[in-house]
Amino acid sequence: MGLADTATDLAVSVTREAMRPARALDRRFRPSAQRAALDALDRVLDSPVTAIAVDRILQSPLVERAITGVVAGPLVDAVADVLIRDAVIERVSAEVVRAGVAERVVEGLVADGVVERSLTGVLADPRVEALVLTTLESDRVEVLVGAVADSPGMERMVARVLESKLLDVGVRQLLASEELWEMIDEIASSKAVTDAIAHQTMGLADEVADEVRIRSRRMDDWLDRATRRATRRRGQPGPGQDLPGGASPA
C-alpha cells in the first residue's frame, strides 16, 4: 500500500467522523421540518392572496406568451414524435375499446338524449346543409370515400361495429321512436312506392304467365309429336301450323 492510499483512507475516515453529528441532527429534526414545510404550504395555498396572485399570473400577457412560445416551439413536435413512435394513441385506443368505455359513453349519451338534441341542432343549421352539399360535390371526396370504403381497416371497423352492443342499442332506440314509423307510413303510402309495387307485381304476374305459356306450348308440341307417331301421320305440316285463311298447303 502506497502513501497516497493511506492518505485517502485517512481523509475518508476523518470526513465520516466529522459528518456523524450532522447525520444525527438530520435524523432528529427531519420529520418535524417536513411537517413544518407542509403546514407552510397549506397556509400559502389557503391564503386569498395566493388565489389573487395565481389569477393575476394566469391573466397576465406573460402566461400567454409562454403558452404561445411552447406551442410554436419544438416541444409540441417532440411530444408528437413520442406519441407516434411509442404508439401511445393506439395503445390507449385499444385499451379504451377493450374496456368498453366507448360503448358505455355512447349508451349514456343516447340515454340522456344528448345525441338526439345535438343532431337536431346540427341538422337544423342551414350552414351545415351548405357545407354538406359543397363537400359531396367535391371530386376529391369521391376518391377518398372510395379508398376508405375499400380499405381493410374499414372492413374490420364495420365488423366490430356490427358485433358491438352499440348497434343493438341504436336499433332498439330507432325502432322505439314514433317518428320512424310515421316516416315509414308516409313512404309506404307515397305514390311512387305504390306505383313501384304495382308495377313489380304486374311484372311478376306477367313473368309467371310467360313461363306458363312457354311450358304449355312445349307440352302441346310434344303431344302433337306423340299423336302423329301414334297415328302414323307423315308428310304433313308442322304441329299446329297451317296457312292463313283456312287454306291448306298443297
Binding site: 306450348r217 299423336t227 299446329g240 301450323q241 297451317d242 283456312g246
Partner: protein, 151 residues
C-alpha cells in the same frame, strides 16, 4: 313471291289452362254472388217453395252468367280472360275475325257438349291438323296464337 305466313294453332294444353282460368273467374263470381243471395234468403226465412224457386233461378242465372261470359268475349275480342293470359284468340275460320253472337252461343253449346262425355269433344284437337275440337266444328272457328301482350 313471298312465302305464305304460317298460322300457329293453339294446342290442347294451352286451351285447357285458359279454360281453367275462365272457369275460376266464373266460379268465384258465382260463389260470391251465391253466398250473398244465400245469406239474404237465410235471414228472410222464406218458405220452402220460394226457396226451391230461388235455387232454380240461381242455377239458371249461373248458366246465363257462364254463357254470357264466353259469348261476350268470343264475339267482341275473340279472347276470354284465360285466352288473354295464354295469348290466343277464337276466330271465324273463313274471315279470321271474332265470331257473331249467335255463333258464339252455338260454340258455347258445343263447349258444354264436348265436356259431358269425358271431354271427348276436345280430343280431336290432338289429332287434327288445325287443332280443332267439336266447338270449333260446330261454330266453324279456329283457335290461333297471338303475340298480343297482356299489359
Amino acid at each position: 313471291m313471298a312465302p305464305p305466313s304460317v298460322v300457329p294453332y293453339t294446342g290442347l294444353v294451352t286451351r285447357a289452362i285458359a279454360l281453367a282460368v275462365d272457369a275460376l273467374i266464373i266460379h268465384v263470381v258465382a260463389l260470391v254472388t251465391g253466398t250473398v243471395v244465400g245469406l239474404i234468403v237465410t235471414a228472410l226465412h222464406v218458405p220452402d217453395t220460394v226457396d226451391t224457386i230461388i235455387k232454380a233461378v240461381g242455377g239458371a242465372a249461373y248458366l246465363v252468367w257462364a254463357a254470357s261470359y264466353f259469348v261476350f268475349f268470343w264475339s267482341t275480342t275473340g279472347q276470354t280472360t284465360g285466352a288473354l293470359v295464354m295469348r290466343f284468340r277464337v276466330l271465324s275460320d273463313n274471315k279470321r275475325e271474332p265470331i257473331s253472337v249467335p255463333r258464339a252461343v252455338f260454340r258455347f253449346v258445343g263447349l258444354i257438349l264436348s265436356a259431358i262425355p269425358f271431354f271427348a269433344g276436345f280430343w280431336p284437337v290432338l289429332f287434327t291438323r288445325r287443332r280443332r275440337g267439336l266447338p270449333d266444328w260446330m261454330a266453324n272457328t279456329v283457335v290461333v296464337d297471338t303475340d298480343d301482350a297482356l299489359l
